[in-house]
C-alpha cells in the first residue's frame, strides 16, 4: 500500500514538465493522445490525470514499478477498463473511452496479452485465419477463404518464423512460439497501433533476441507501445522510454536520460525493487487493484 504522502512526494515538477510535452500535441503526427485519464478501482486511484501521447511510426517502451498503472493504461486504450474521467484520442479524432473492445480493434488497435492468448485447439494457420477475418461481413463467415488471404497468412507466418508449424495445433507450441503466434495474429490484421504487454516474459535468451528483432521490424512500419519489465531488453531495443509511476508519467526520453533521472531512481528504489527485475517476477500476472493489497 502506497500512502497519500508517498504519492505527493513523487508528484514532482519534473513529471509535470514531461506531461506538458504531451499536452495539446494532437497534431497530425500524433496517433494516440491520452488526456487527463483517471481510473480508480474500489476507491484506489490507479491512473491519476495521466497525459501521454505517441506519434505515427513510433516505438515506445513503457516501464515503471509494480502498480504504476502500465497494464491499466493499455486496458483503457483497448477498452477493457472504462475510465472515470479523461479522453483517449486515436488517429485524429476518435475518442476511445466509450467504445467496445472489438470496435477498437476494427479502428486499428491490436493488443498482445502478457500470457499468450491464442486458440489452442486450432492449427497455427487457422489461428491466423480467424484473426484475418475480422473485417469480413457476417455472411462471408460461412465460406472458405480466398487465395489472396492465404498468401497474406503465409507471408505473416514467414515474418514470425512459424511457417513450418502451420498445420500444427497451436496448443502444442512452445511458450515462445505461442507468443510469436499471437504477435502474428496481430500483424495479419495490419493494425495502426500495436500494444504489447511484456512480449518477452518467460522467453529464453535466444527467443528474446529474436522477439526484439521482430519488434524492431514491426516498429519500422507502425506505431508500437511495449510494456516491459526486462530492463536489459529495454536497454537493448528501446528508443524512447516512458516511465510511469503511481498513475502518472514520471519521466520520458531515451533510455540514458531516463535512467539518470533522480525521480526514476527514487521511484524504483523507494518501492523496494531494483531496476533489474527478474524475468520470473515480471511474468507474474498483475491487476491494477493488486497495488492496494
Amino acid at each position: 500500500m502506497i500512502g497519500r504522502r508517498a504519492r505527493q512526494i513523487f508528484q514532482t515538477p519534473a513529471s509535470h514538465a514531461a506531461n506538458g510535452a504531451g499536452l495539446g500535441a494532437a497534431d497530425d503526427k500524433t496517433i494516440l493522445s491520452v488526456e487527463k485519464l483517471t481510473i480508480s478501482f474500489d476507491g484506489f486511484t490507479v491512473l491519476n490525470e495521466l497525459d501521454f501521447s505517441m506519434k505515427y511510426g513510433e516505438m515506445r517502451f513503457l516501464i515503471g514499478p509494480n502498480g504504476a498503472g502500465k497494464t491499466t493504461l493499455i486496458d483503457s486504450i483497448t477498452g477493457k477498463s472504462k475510465p472515470d474521467r479523461g479522453r483517449i484520442v486515436f488517429d485524429g479524432g476518435t475518442d476511445l473511452t466509450r467504445q467496445q473492445e472489438h470496435r477498437l480493434v476494427r479502428l486499428g488497435i491490436g493488443r498482445k496479452f502478457q500470457t499468450p492468448s491464442i486458440f489452442g485447439s486450432l492449427t497455427v494457420y487457422q489461428n491466423l485465419e480467424v484473426a484475418l477475418g475480422f473485417r469480413n461481413r457476417i455472411t462471408s463467415l460461412f465460406g472458405g477463404i480466398r487465395s489472396r488471404e492465404s498468401d497474406r497468412i503465409m507471408a505473416t507466418l514467414e515474418e514470425v518464423a512459424l511457417v513450418d508449424r502451420a498445420s500444427e495445433v497451436a496448443g502444442s507450441l512452445s511458450h515462445g512460439e505461442k507468443q510469436w503466434l499471437e504477435i502474428g495474429m496481430l500483424l495479419v490484421q495490419e493494425p495502426k497501433l500495436l500494444l504489447m504487454d511484456e512480449p518477452v516474459a518467460g522467453m529464453t535468451r535466444r527467443e528474446r533476441e529474436k522477439t526484439g528483432e521482430l519488434l524492431q521490424s514491426i516498429g519500422s512500419t507502425r506505431s508500437v507501445l511495449v510494456v516491459e519489465h526486462d530492463m536489459e531488453f529495454v536497454r537493448r531495443f528501446a528508443q524512447t522510454v516512458t516511465v510511469l509511476h503511481l498513475g502518472k508519467v514520471l519521466s520520458e526520453g531515451d533510455m540514458e536520460t531516463v535512467q539518470r533521472d533522480p525521480e526514476v531512481v527514487r521511484a524504483y528504489l523507494g518501492h523496494g525493487a531494483s531496476g533489474n527485475r527478474t524475468v520470473a517476477e515480471s511474468s507474474q500476472p498483475r491487476r491494477g487493484t493488486a497495488a492496494g493489497v
Partner: protein, 298 residues
C-alpha cells in the same frame, strides 16, 4: 399490522431455510467451484438419518417423541452426510477439479444413484419424523401473532451453523488451511498444505451442512427419496445471487430472496411469486454479473 409482522417472520423463516440449504453449496460450489447437483441428496441423507435414528430410539425406548433423540440426530446427520460427501469426493469429484461443468454431470448421476438407494432402503413412500414435543406449539407475541417454535428453532440452528462455520474457518488451523487453499492453491501447496486433504474436508463439510439442513427440514417438510429436488434449485439461486465464494453474500442473498418471495407470494400467488423472484435475480445478474458480493480482485 399483525399480518405484516407475521409475514416479516415468514420471510425470515424462509430465508433461514434457504440459507441452511445453501450454506453447504456456498462451500462446495462457492469455494471449490464444484457444481454439486447431489447436494439435495445429501439433504435427503440427513433427513433419513434423523428418521432412522428415531426409529431405532423408538424401538428401544418406546418413545418416538423423545426430544433428546432429535438433538442427537443433528450431529449424527451431519456426520452421515459428511461421510457420504467424503466418499463422493474421494471417488468422483477429485478427478474433476478444473472441470466444473463435468462435476455437474457426474454429481447428477450421483444424485440419481442416491435417490434410488433411498428408495431401495426406505421404500418409495414418504416417511415421518415425529417432532419432539418441545418443538411443537407456538410462541405468542400478541394475541394474533403466533410464531411457530419450529421456525424459531430453525432460525436458531442456522445462526449456530454460521457461528460454527465462522469459528472453523477463522479460528482453527484446519480452517485456515482451507482458506489458504481456496485463495491460492499453488502457494498453499508449496507451503506444505495437503490440498487433497483440504479438498476432501471442505467437500465433506459442505455435505455435512446439507445433512443438518435435512435434519431440520424433517420438522416442516416431506421426507422422501426426492426430497432434495425440492430445495436444490433455490439453493443454487441463493449462491449465485450471493456471489461465489462469499458466505456473507450468501447470507444476504438468502435474506433478500426469502423476503421478496414472501412478499410477492402474499401479494400475488405462489407461482407468480416464484417466477417474479427468479426473473428479478436474472435481471440483477445483468446489472451485477458477479452477484451481491464481489470476490476480491487478485
Amino acid at each position: 399490522m399483525e399480518v405484516w409482522a407475521s409475514q416479516l417472520f415468514n420471510g425470515l423463516s424462509l430465508s433461514s431455510i434457504l440459507l441452511l440449504t445453501a450454506l453447504g453449496l456456498a462451500l462446495s460450489f462457492g469455494l471449490m467451484n464444484v457444481i454439486n447437483l447431489a447436494h439435495g441428496e445429501f439433504i435427503m441423507i440427513g433427513a433419513y438419518t434423523t428418521y432412522a435414528l428415531q426409529q431405532v430410539a423408538a424401538h428401544y425406548t418406546g418413545d418416538p417423541q423423545s426430544g433428546i433423540t432429535f438433538l442427537i440426530a443433528i450431529p449424527v446427520s451431519f456426520i452421515m452426510a459428511a461421510a457420504a460427501g467424503y466418499l463422493v469426493e474421494v471417488s468422483v469429484i477429485r478427478f474433476l477439479y478444473r472441470r466444473p461443468l463435468d462435476t455437474l454431470l457426474a454429481t447428477w448421476g450421483v444424485g440419481l444413484f442416491l435417490q434410488q438407494l433411498a428408495r431401495s432402503i426406505f421404500g418409495a413412500p414418504n416417511v415421518q419424523v415425529v417432532a419432539p414435543a418441545w418443538l411443537s406449539g407456538t410462541v405468542s407475541v400478541t394475541s394474533g401473532l403466533l410464531l411457530p417454535m419450529k421456525r424459531i428453532f430453525i432460525i436458531g440452528l442456522v445462526l449456530a451453523c454460521l457461528g460454527a462455520l465462522y469459528l472453523y474457518m477463522y479460528r482453527s488451523n484446519e480452517g485456515r488451511r482451507m482458506r489458504g487453499v481456496m485463495q491460492n492453491r499453488e502457494m498453499a501447496s508449496s507451503l506444505g498444505v495437503s490440498t487433497r486433504r483440504v479438498d476432501s474436508f471442505t467437500f465433506a463439510l459442505g455435505s455435512g451442512l446439507a445433512g443438518v439442513a435435512g435434519c431440520a427440514l424433517t420438522l416442516i417438510g416431506p421426507i422422501g427419496p426426492s426430497l432434495g429436488t425440492f430445495y436444490i434449485v433455490d439453493a443454487f439461486i441463493v449462491v449465485i445471487l450471493g456471489g461465489l465464494g462469499q458466505i456473507p453474500g450468501t447470507i444476504m442473498a438468502a435474506l433478500i430472496i426469502g423476503m421478496l418471495n414472501t412478499v410477492f407470494e402474499f401479494g400475488t400467488t405462489a407461482v407468480v411469486g416464484k417466477v417474479l423472484v427468479f426473473a428479478m435475480v436474472i435481471l440483477f445478474l445483468q446489472w451485477k454479473p458477479a452477484g451481491l458480493m464481489r470476490a476480491r480482485g487478485r
